[in-house]
Symmetry: C2
Subunit: 342 residues, 2 copies
């Protein structure tokens, strides 16, 4: 297996993606191609006195997509950018998955135009795994499409269901529609319609639709395996989880430093804090799949360090081994629901 | 001051609303009217061997709005329900504020039809105070209106701004529009339009619009004072905060019971945990204001116990003293933005 990594994407590029590639090569044994400005990459290797191990090679890409570039057109205007070059390699079979910590918008636009969508899939979606009381769920879409039709969302549900089954190993994944109440009549017009379409898809045996889910249920041990949302709502949900977690961690720090007694108490629980921190650490997730494309494309967090990049490589390798895209391709007819909206 | 309490609303009614009324009478010294089935109320007082203190009276209402009643019409079909009777008393000046732990939908519909909206205000909104790194913010709308026009949302912004100023004591409240990115071009069509309208309202000096806010900023010490959202998105945000907090508290419990050492550690931090728990306790918020009505109407959490009802009375009293409704009434012309949508 060969994983292509965008060496120029993210706040800590190119050093951390380079170090992450080496870490992943050691940990997972897969081959890695670093795509980016070769001269810059070699300079860093020299500075850090690192010999690139066998199994890792560098492919030059002279341009870098910057934060100021229009994400929807950057891939076309910067044909020799690391994202464009890496995705063309992926398309042409010179690697099995592509990972970038660069702009989500640029990666999504470039992925859709270069790698292309699976035939029949209307829109690609961002599908992170979010922590839940049931050991995590696929949230789809978490931000790729701020305007969605009911059909897009039904396709997200089906792609997410395959993902939960093949990658998370959930046997008959419970698919829930995020909403403001349990009853099918809850929510705005879009959500009412999606609820009825997913109910129909569930009755037809295409997926295991369990109805609306309110986000208070995230903590439940019965939380569903797939959380379906339009990209606007899904992104708000994801970022609210991050914001709330960060608020609580901050409050906890205050608590543990109240006085000498609490400080000593902290020393006694500190060892177990690692597991707790891991639950909330975005670096652990590593990479978020863009579902709906013909090849595996992963977005790593913009602030990814070497460890996060390495974790993303692990996720990408799992994804490749799960033959998820083949499963979606084979079942694409199920995605064409009878009540089509567009 | 006299606060009218729905004795029949909520999961723990009527016992907890009754006990909450007594607690509030002792704590805040205000008069309280309990509205509900007098016989049932008296039976509970007898069972608990409680003498109703002076300053609390009972007004009989023979009917109860149940969870199965259609919230939009319940107030009309059950004219002698505690919600309908209590709101008529409020309308007629027989009390200064009304509190119910019953159905939000029924309270909102009844409030709008009986108490009526402030002239010029298009829709009433649910406006809880949510915890933030800056000591809390008004979230408006948190669920009253699943479909919103841009004009509704601009009015929410202005009402929320007055609320933050008069009740939370923020001098020049920072108003943020919840969104999936900081740039004005982010989000769906509704949010792009609201951003431009709020920018205009800000430039005209009607409020202090600070632009889009992503929910990751909730933890920040610079978090805004007012978070504007459509009711669907606002409710998802609110419930995601609750779900995430509950998930983390659960994980913490697991952490503290890992082994003898962590259990001992917990004993040492336990004393300071009170403050932390308070941050996350929905009982502390007590009541959520329904903004936009001619009189103060408060929704208490469905699971409110006596303490939560008592806290809601405190919030309602603050609200009455802040003359917020007068402020909205006087400035209602500001709510009529030039770019009206409906």
């Amino acid at each position: 297996m060969r994983i292509i990594i965008d060496a120029m994407g993210g706040d800590l590029a190119p050093r951390e993606p380079i170090l992450g590639a080496i870490m992943a090569r050691n940990e997972f044994g897969c081959n890695v191609t670093l795509v980016g400005q070769e001269e810059t990459i070699r300079k860093i290797l020299e500075q850090d006195k690192i010999q690139l191990p066998p199994g890792i090679d560098i492919v030059n890409a002279s341009e870098v997509i910057e934060i100021c570039d229009d994400p929807s057109t950057a891939w076309r205007r910067k044909k020799d950018s690391s994202i464009s070059v890496g995705l063309r390699m992926l398309r042409d079979g010179e690697g099995d998955a592509f990972i970038s910590a660069g702009s989500t918008g640029a990666l999504l636009a470039a992925g859709t135009m270069i790698v292309k969508r699976i035939p029949g899939v209307r829109r690609a979606a961002v599908a992170p795994i979010v922590p839940t009381g049931a050991g995590g769920a696929v949230l789809i879409d978490a931000g790729a499409n701020s305007e969605c039709t009911p059909e897009y969302m039904c396709q997200f549900a089906l792609m997410g269901s395959f993902y939960a089954q093949r990658v998370l190993g959930r046997e008959n994944p419970k698919v829930g529609l995020v909403n403001i109440g349990a009853e099918p009549s809850k929510g705005n017009e879009l959500y009412k319609l999606v609820n009825s379409m997913l109910t129909e898809a569930g009755n037809a045996g295409h997926l295991n639709f369990v109805g609306n889910m309110e986000p208070v249920q995230l903590a439940s041990e019965d939380a569903c395996d797939v959380i379906v949302a339009d990209g606007f709502t899904g992104n708000i949900l994801l970022k609210t989880m991050e914001g709330t977690a960060s608020f609580i961690v901050h409050a906890l720090k205050g608590l543990f430093t109240t006085n000498a007694k609490t400080k000593m108490g902290y020393l006694m629980v500190k060892g177990s804090m690692g597991k707790f921190k891991k639950l909330l650490d975005s670096r652990e997730t590593g990479g978020t799949a863009l579902l709906g494309l013909r090849k595996p494309v992963f977005k790593a967090h913009g602030s990814s360090d070497a460890y996060a990049i390495c974790r993303a490589v692990g996720k990408a390798a799992e994804f490749v081994n799960a033959n998820l895209i083949e499963a979606i391709e084979e079942n694409v007819s199920r995605l064409q629901l009878s009540q089509e909206e567009q």
